[in-house]
Symmetry: C2
Subunit: 271 residues, 2 copies
């Protein structure tokens, strides 16, 4: 039996018509797994090392740590997923990764307010402002900005305590489409690297850092929402973000306590 | 940035020359993961379902249960690995999967002896015999047969206790290349299906059974060893082995308490 005949036999076994989408997904997974094994002439020892690695990735995960998402992030798969699922045109703001640190139930704050609930000594104050526009340049009133970011100690609030909403806020634009809030300058920080993904990064001579950024989900009725960041132009990790999230159009100055950035949303097509 | 440019950026990040084999393996994994995501237009929900599934596969694994190997087996990857790593020609015995139930330190038994240490009521006695030959048909003296199989209750001895060697034995052929031992007729049995792999099999309308078989590793100095099975021609699962291990040349009659099978080893080439 040839490897091709073997592949046909396996695909036939998974060809049940009862769940066609699962069948198509598993078919793609199987075909590409086989291509990996054949292209690399994978040995038994390498196969077992892969089994052992994946097992450890699962076992490192728990209610607050998700090592498989981290693996997806650090292989660039999560970013690819954002790219292929985003329906905005090139005129709209570029998307980037959502990440694991968003919290549902973030408080709605008054436009212009501060998101700083707990001041740290290392904080550098920063005002962020701009407009939400459509791709024709018209301001969007009533647009929502869901904002979250790392503290100046390199940790998100939820990594230290579950009952804070420090450096998080939801804002709604007025009729002129403008937004503004007060925060602290974000810092570069490492993704969790004490698990198997950290071992993979080190073995590949890769550092674990993300360049300083602020997360946004910007949405408005009748428009395609965008999940994105703004990055601090000062960061030394812009060219080597461990999760490959940087886009040149998202890099902004955060000098002198001020940062300005407009977000552009695509109008949703009917149907 | 296009998905192709994103892929280039990710591959560059993993292009460290310090560990070229790891680089090549990860490059193949990344390229094919991206192809899966793009070909299937994978959604966020499907991506998360995959993350959740893989996490559960890792978490189901422990010292005695290896759910990732089971996943590899049931996707046909383990069998493919045997095929591409086997260096025997078409004249040699076909290989099949090694499986998770081999035990090191199996006792050496006298040729012709029984491997039955514990008799069960459901046992059907079986004598297995034949010759070990090279691809020119000449008998190989001093060849080793490492044999193991399931009990007539559908479990391997080690699934019930760690200190038995029931239905296991190592035999060495005499100058005429013949072997013979007494055992019990193997039975069809399901792979462990109370974990996430069992869920995948059920969702794909696949049963979890392996057709009745006896495991062999046959080896001899100067020859390429073969990891293989003999399958009972009576089994109703020959066409649908859950791990895709059946080869027509390995199916034999086990009627009337007798089973005959020759094993053919390829001579190892110098260098």
């Amino acid at each position: 039996m040839t490897p091709e005949q073997h592949l046909d036999q396996v695909l036939s076994a998974f060809a049940s018509p009862e769940n066609p989408r699962l069948r198509d997904l598993l078919s793609a997974v199987i075909r590409h797994l086989y291509a990996i094994v054949e292209e690399t002439s994978l040995t038994h020892d390498e196969w077992f090392a892969a089994i052992d690695f994946l097992t450890k990735v699962g076992q490192k995960s728990d209610d607050v740590r998700q090592e498989f998402i981290l693996l997806s992030d650090t292989l660039g798969v999560s970013m690819l997923l954002e790219m292929i699922n985003y329906r905005g045109s090139v005129a709209a703001t570029e998307p980037t990764v959502f990440g694991p640190f968003h919290v549902d139930g973030t408080p709605h704050r008054r436009m212009g307010a501060s998101v700083v609930d707990h001041v740290l000594e290392s904080d550098e104050p920063l005002t962020v402002k701009g407009r939400v526009l459509n791709t024709l340049g018209a301001p969007i009133g009533g647009a929502t900005l869901d904002v979250w970011q790392v503290q100046s100690n390199g940790l998100y609030d939820v990594q230290q305590s579950s009952d804070t909403r420090n450096l998080r806020g939801v804002f709604t634009t007025g009729a002129d489409g403008t937004y503004e809030f007060v925060t602290v300058r974000p810092v570069d920080y490492p993704v969790p690297n004490d698990g198997p993904v950290g071992v993979m990064l080190a073995a590949s001579s890769r550092h674990p850092f993300r360049p300083a950024h602020i997360h946004f989900v910007v949405s408005a009725d009748g428009h395609i929402p965008v999940t994105t960041h703004i990055f601090d132009a000062r960061s030394k990790y812009l060219a080597s973000d461990v999760v490959f999230g940087v886009r040149e159009s998202l890099v902004v100055s955060m000098e002198d306590g001020l940062c300005e950035k407009d977000f552009v949303l695509e109008v949703k097509q009917a149907g």
